[in-house]
Symmetry: C2
Subunit: 575 residues, 2 copies
């Protein structure tokens, strides 16, 4: 028996569900309704369109075989009816029909359904500050905005840009402006760090340093309080509590929220923050209404909490699962671990699971291993340092998250994706120690970064390794009186250590090269806490173990060592 499937939303989850539905039930009638004229596009590609990497917006809404995914395509190739420029204004759950209005003609009608899918997506959050309606202030709400932004830049109207919001879209837009177009760009983030709640502060700091190297001005801990315009209503500047930043264009990228008014008005269960609540078959509280994509609340597999995961990849996955269930099958969505990856100029930053900060807040017996190994065999040409932080629970030994920062290639993805697979399965430190990463020198080290990170976690749990927290170490470097009993023990090559000894005095910065520690340990002070520093932290750990064995238990290891210090951009490193 033929059924009528109606899908509200035509960007990611909607079209995916529609096409899957037609493959499962070719005889059923599938209609996608969207208020926009442009549908089924790769929204995550917008920054790459703006910067010119993607030359034509049509590429963002084309298939891999170069057909534009428009209404005609969906009709001809997929057998799916698409109504664009058509808004769903309400749901009559009793009658099982949606009210629609044609935005071109104003015509209103009723579209009946047997099963309804809400794939209404997310919308940019509007900051409640004066001036956001000025000409030249944009959010990245849809392709039309992107087209207009690119037009303005290409026409030379944009010399200075301000991006408000230091999340992924904000950073990617800042890169787009600076990299290709040479626009003088300032990124303003209200929180004390970039990518708040996604990565821990050292990773945000490494990212910030790189953005600054690439001529993006980054201001954190400062919110936009007003957008200022000229008499013609065109934007001229962004104001914060501390300054006024001139701007020809302003990108508002302070986050998105689920577009769920339709669901709420229909009486479906919607979380206070806006996510439509669904079961693991993606059914809303009305069994004939499903929801998928950026508009839903999902379960975080690490915290067990309801969360918001607006990713195009998840939207596609959820679309397929919703279609399976609407077709009468059983297909489950297990929840998310929050995998995340981003290009920022020549660097890649990525994470999965939860950060250390979040883990502490969630009440885990949280700890982390911070490592800075080579991203492939250290003798292979082109190898580069990559920084990883593995977050774990000391009690259960479960791994809670992994963050990575390194060169712009797929090396970090390999570790983050592997970690995501294990974390979703409740993976422990043991699982990470033994996970079998394919090895060959052009791709990895004999002890893979992810295994090494787990070894460090194992050593921390065993009490073999005692580390100093990075922020505490930096506070001491700022002001030695913060920890009067400390002295750095620099075990790097004497040529590397000399400048620090000279700058900070032997009183605060002792140097004995790593291979000489076994002979010279008697020189070390008994009455001070030694903070052992090297390049990556691995030699420091060995030295700590040795010092413990000879009765000197007063040492701490600076995890990640100078490899991390240099990347977070501390200014006190001599030379």
């Amino acid at each position: 028996m033929s059924r009528k499937i109606v899908i509200v939303g035509g960007v990611a989850a909607g079209p995916k569900a529609a096409c899957r539905m037609k493959r499962l039930r070719p005889g059923w009638d599938v209609t996608v309704i969207d208020q926009d004229s442009l549908i089924s596009y790769g929204g995550c590609g917008i920054p790459y369109y703006v910067c010119g990497d993607v030359s034509d917006e049509k590429e963002l809404r084309s298939t891999s075989f170069h057909m534009v995914r428009d209404e005609k395509f969906f009709d001809q190739a997929k057998g799916v009816t698409v109504l664009t420029r058509t808004r769903v204004t309400g749901i009559d759950r009793q009658a099982k029909a949606v009210f629609v209005r044609n935005l071109e003609t104003g015509e209103e009608s009723l579209v009946p359904y047997d099963k309804l899918l809400l794939a209404t997506g997310a919308q940019p959050i509007d900051l409640p500050i004066p001036g956001i309606d000025l000409d030249g202030v944009f959010s990245i709400a849809n392709l039309h905005k992107a087209i207009e932004i690119k037009k303005r830049i290409a026409q030379g109207q944009v010399a200075r840009a301000v991006v408000v919001g230091g999340g992924a879209i904000g950073i990617e837009m800042a890169e787009a402006f600076t990299d290709l177009w040479g626009v003088e760009t300032t990124l303003v983030e209200f929180m004390p760090q970039l990518l708040p709640r996604i990565v821990d502060w050292p990773f945000a700091a490494m990212l910030k340093t790189h953005l600054e190297e690439k001529n993006v001005r980054v201001i954190t801990g400062e919110g936009a309080t007003e957008i200022i315009g000229d008499d013609d209503g065109r934007v001229t500047a962004v104001k914060t509590a501390a300054r006024e930043i001139p701007a020809d264009i302003v990108i508002m990228a302070v986050g998105v929220r689920p577009r769920s008014d339709l669901a709420r008005e229909a009486g479906l269960n919607v979380a206070p923050w806006g996510g439509i609540r669904v079961n693991n078959r993606l059914q809303t509280t009305d069994p004939d209404i499903y929801a998928a994509g950026d508009c839903i609340a999902v379960t975080h597999l690490v915290t067990g909490r309801e969360t918001f995961a607006p990713f195009g990849s998840l939207a596609n996955r959820e679309g397929r699962i919703a279609a399976d269930n609407m077709a009468g099958g059983v297909s489950l969505f297990p929840g998310v671990v929050g995998s995340y990856v981003m290009k920022a100029f020549d660097r890649c930053i990525a994470s999965t699971g939860i950060s250390y900060e979040t883990a502490v807040a969630e009440g885990f017996d949280a700890d982390y291993s911070l490592t800075a190994p080579a991203d492939r065999a250290h003798f292979f040409p082109g190898e580069a340092i990559v920084v990883y932080q593995l977050v774990f629970d000391r009690k259960s030994r479960k791994v809670l998250g992994l963050q990575g920062f390194g060169m712009m290639n797929d090396s970090i993805s390999a570790r983050i994706d592997t970690a995501a697979a294990l974390i979703a399965k409740g993976g422990t430190i043991e699982d990470f120690m033994t996970v079998e990463m394919a090895y060959s020198p052009p791709f990895s080290a004999a002890i893979d970064s992810i295994n090494a990170a787990a070894y460090v976690a194992d050593n921390l749990c065993a009490g073999l390794l005692r580390k100093v927290n990075l922020d505490r170490f930096l506070a001491w470097m700022d002001d030695f009186s913060a920890e009067p009993g400390w002295i750095a023990l620099d075990i790097r090559h004497p040529q590397e250590a000399a400048a620090c000894v000279e700058k900070f005095s032997q009183d605060k910065w002792a140097a004995i090269p790593y291979p000489e520690i076994r002979e010279r340990h008697a020189e070390l002070p008994e009455d001070k806490t030694m903070v052992i520093v090297c390049d990556a932290g691995t030699r420091s750990y060995e030295v700590q173990v040795f010092l413990d064995a000879v009765g000197k238990h007063n040492s701490l290891v600076l995890s990640g060592g100078f490899n991390v210090l240099r990347r977070i951009g501390v200014d006190w490193i001599p030379g």
Copy 2:
């Protein structure tokens, strides 16, 4: 109480175990014994040393902080005694001591142990053919051989090379000769394909095609029967059943076998094929003797069988685990999934788990999905096609293996490593459909390759997709009479399809573009089996589903489509 730890073998597992042991038990006495003068080197880096990517052999035996790992280094930095040029000639298990002979002085002595670790590694298999002792015939047994090979090339003594053996080392050596040195190189493999037992034949074929593009002559299905030399005892040619191939140098790379004579002679349990049998704490049948690295038998987590996994990465891991247990802790080695990755010129080939061929032989209800997607968002610059084959068991829906072939970058590692993590945990098609790959257009597609491969597997299990096996299709293309009832249905763009229609006639090769199928399906024959072909196989699947819905059940899909056909190098593709 101090204990004496003796470790036989100083390349990978041995040094790793020694250093870990000193960290766990700093007061214990740890001695490593090796018959070679060079120790603790990255053997997998040898081809990159020969080709010049790694300029000095010392880099292969240096730490990441540029210290050469020689006897002095182990003594000073690690507190480990290393006896080089010293051979262990026997084990007195009763007395708990090993007999050693100094290879320089001939002096013999007895070294007592409390715990003994055998990390004796593997040795190249010698083919029992005439001429293998000729000057200029080398195996890649150790660093000395590599140094001598590179010396000969650098001195201009090598214009023509023959590599016997189409496994990883053979292929990497062939690349090393050809790529930097321009040596005319022939690779001879006895089995019908390269990388036998590691990848299925289409992947070996894609690799072969690429090697040939790079001017390596590849001969498969032909074994070396004799090596021929001149009157001075220098190699001049390699003979097979079919030909004689001139050679100034011959690399024998027909595989390695565990070096386990010592274990066998001491009465330990050793598999007939040579692997030392250990429990999951890496203890041999003598509880005071452990074994780790290339000399042991390990459990394959997919087949449950005893297997041989000579990888430097596993050797390091096993070394750490052996040390933990020798120190009195409990640390388990769960077994292997056989992850594998290799650079071959501009391509990467990788696998984990078992191949389809192996799965069939092992009695699984085996099937595979063959896909050819883009390796990142298809609109992102630099994206390229990558080919994956996911092998699974239809009954249990467990994933048994994954193979990948694509561009030389870390993109395939990301999917292979993730798959390895899941396969080791008994992962199913569902796990692969939902594994959360970090998404952003520079790194991945909204539907990641690994999720897509699992979707295809799911569709195959559901009977939604019926595919033709590649070899059967190729046999038909060779000779249409092999399947008299077949006709190809080419749904690519008319410009792409036209040349095939013209070459093979409308009788054998029909063409209807993908978006026109819904209108024109009546033109299709009722009495023939249609093999639907496109570029990647995804559109073909959609067309099959549609044809089924209109009552035409006589179709098969060519998985991977022309993307795979072109890469395996079939010669009948016009244009």
